[in-house]
């Protein structure tokens, strides 16, 4: 029963996130379209993290690394396409989103595999610290690397292109982001129900038991962490295109923390948890940010309330406890 209620809640959220920008665009309120786009992108980044954190119990405090790498892939490829200078002396730049996404997925997946291979040998607080340390390393590298703007960041003059779609207009770009978010959610749902997902969730619930039935948690977690980084990486590429700008701030630990906050707000391990979390975050940022600069204080209060009184996050509040068949 609880499961069916969650389906309804999810469908309502999905429809709302689609309907509001459609309406706003029709009403000429493009600002709200942009707000919804921001929600979709942050949600996608958090869906990626939710694979590691929600399904695998891997509290990564370094997912900004993948988000930022995706962003820089978009920025760097676009800048080379504009300047005409080949990347590393032989790779042409590009302004084609699908190509950028693939490169972002490969780059963030490669780095996630490397970080995971080292950090997954530890657990608990050490895992949190090591993922944080790796992300900070990449952050400082970007900060001190002048070729792509250093601390000033890198502008993308014109938003990158998608064949047959005018990405300069807010609504089509939102629809691209919404589609990718939907694909991310589909991937999450498929993984959660699959054999791989069963092993991943079992390793979170009871590592010793999982090993005792003959499934080594390390490899399962490494693959999950890599997939997780890839999804967050694509979101990063979209985020760069939304802002037409990337800077080291996308790589900073604030960003990693923000992604965790989104998931905790919405519901850890819940399919639509990241979407609800991102929506709440962006809406609070917009409403409260207009009233007071200290809006994050109120965000903190909301977070505290959720942690204390709604362990399943807002999705848990709306749909009841999560159930595994």
């Amino acid at each position: 029963m609880a499961m069916r209620r969650e389906h309804l809640v999810n469908a309502a959220i999905a429809l709302l996130l689609l309907a509001v920008p459609l309406w706003a665009s029709w009403a000429g309120q493009n600002f709200y379209v942009t707000l919804a786009t921001r929600i979709a992108i942050l949600a996608l980044a958090a869906v990626g993290l939710n694979i590691a954190l929600g399904l695998g119990g891997l509290v990564s405090f370094g997912h900004a690394a993948f988000f930022g790498i995706g962003g820089y892939v978009a920025g760097i490829l676009a800048s080379h396409a504009v300047s005409g200078a080949p990347l590393l002396g032989f790779l042409p730049g590009t302004k084609l989103m699908p190509v950028i996404w693939i490169v972002a997925i490969l780059a963030s997946g490669f780095v996630a595999a490397a970080i995971g291979a080292i950090s997954l040998r530890t657990g608990g607080v050490y895992f949190i610290m090591i993922t944080l340390a790796f992300a900070q390393m990449i952050f400082y590298f970007a900060l001190s690397w002048p070729a792509y703007g250093g601390e000033d960041g890198l502008s993308i003059m014109l938003r990158n292109a998608f064949p047959g779609v005018n990405t300069l207009r807010p609504l089509p770009f939102f629809l691209i982001c919404y589609t990718l978010l939907s694909l991310g959610l589909l991937l999450f749902a498929l993984i959660r129900g699959s054999r791989f997902g069963a092993a991943l969730q079992a390793a979170r619930q009871n590592e010793v038991r999982t090993a005792s039935v003959g499934i080594a948690p390390f490899r399962i977690r490494l693959v999950a962490f890599t997939i997780s980084g890839m999804v967050t990486g694509v979101a990063g590429a979209l985020f760069a295109d939304l802002n037409r700008f990337v800077s080291p701030s996308m790589l900073s630990w604030h960003m990693s923390g923000e992604l965790i906050v989104l998931i905790v707000l919405g519901g850890v391990g819940r399919l639509y948890g990241p979407v609800v979390g991102a929506a709440l975050y962006v809406v609070l940022e917009y409403w409260l940010g207009g009233i007071t600069e200290r809006w994050q204080f109120f965000l903190g209060l909301v977070l505290l309330g959720v942690v204390l009184f709604a362990r399943g996050g807002i999705v848990g509040l709306l749909a009841g406890r999560a159930r595994h068949d």
């Binding site: 498929l190 993984i191 129900g193 699959s194 054999r195 791989f196 997902g197 069963a198 092993a199 969730q201 079992a202 619930q205 009871n206 010793v208 038991r209 999982t210 090993a211 005792s212 039935v213 003959g214 499934i215 080594a216 399962i220 693959v223 999560a322 159930r323 595994h324 068949d325």
Partner: protein
């Protein structure tokens, strides 16, 4: 005499100054139930842990099915057919009983890297898991999360998992604990039939069960095996009576 399937020789494990396993040697032969008894803190669970691979011995050898397995991980030992249950039951608490067993089936099939097909629609997982639950009498509780099962039911579930793993030898750490007399009796009958399929190293405090089931008994006291023998040998052994059995025998 048949080759033992499992043989522990000269095993040593210390926790600081405490010798929890003190030069222990014992074996398990096909078709038998070898009971391991001894007072609380004697080192029974520690021994099981070393055989299963969750604990590393300081010295000694563990052979299973003709090979030294000291260097193998828990997962590798399990895949070779060494099944175990835990004294404090160890399950995936959020998963239903059925899904706990399905995890074992999936491991046996060697296929955890499949990302898309929903497990609940996969007959090749559900059917064998259900069959294992039926064997231990837990089919009626298949959909209940492990965390909500009773103590005794969790024990049964652990055995179902070991069965689903197709284990060639079983390490059972106090499977009767927390079961009512009715449950113990049922489980005793079940283990009695099970020994033909997989020999059992049985740690158990329930002496009725031990005396009814064991082909051989080893007595562990302060990490040392002080006696090994048939039920009658052990019952009449004065050292054992002093150290453990008291008047019970």
């Amino acid at each position: 005499m048949t080759e033992p399937i499992l043989a522990v020789s000269d095993l040593v494990k210390s926790f600081g100054a405490l010798k929890a396993t003190d030069h222990v040697s014992l074996d398990l032969r096909p078709g038998e139930i070898h009971a391991l008894i001894g007072p609380n803190g004697a080192g029974k669970s520690t021994l099981i842990g070393q055989i299963a691979g969750t604990l590393k011995p300081n010295a000694g050898e563990i052979r299973f099915a003709g090979e030294t397995i000291n260097a193998l991980s828990v997962a590798e030992r399990s895949r070779r057919g060494l099944g175990r249950t835990f004294q404090v039951s160890s399950l995936a608490p959020e998963f239903s009983a059925l899904r706990n067993v399905m995890l074992a089936v999936q491991s046996v099939q060697g296929s955890s890297f499949r990302f898309f097909r929903p497990v609940m629609l996969d007959r090749s997982l559900v059917d064998p898991a259900m069959a294992a639950l039926e064997r231990v009498g837990l089919a009626g509780r298949a959909g209940i999360p492990a965390a909500e099962l009773s103590h005794g039911e969790r024990r049964q579930l652990e055995i179902a998992i070991a069965l689903a793993l197709g284990s060639r030898a079983l390490l059972l750490d106090e499977p009767m604990a927390g079961m009512g007399p009715e449950g113990s009796k049922r489980l005793t009958g079940f283990l009695d039939r099970l020994r033909a399929e997989a020999p059992i190293l049985l740690v158990e405090h329930d002496m009725n069960a031990v005396f009814a089931l064991a082909d051989r008994i080893s007595v562990l006291v302060y990490g040392k095996v002080i006696a090994t023998g048939s039920v009658d040998d052990i019952r009449s052994n004065p050292d054992v009576r002093r150290a453990y059995l008291g008047d019970e025998a």
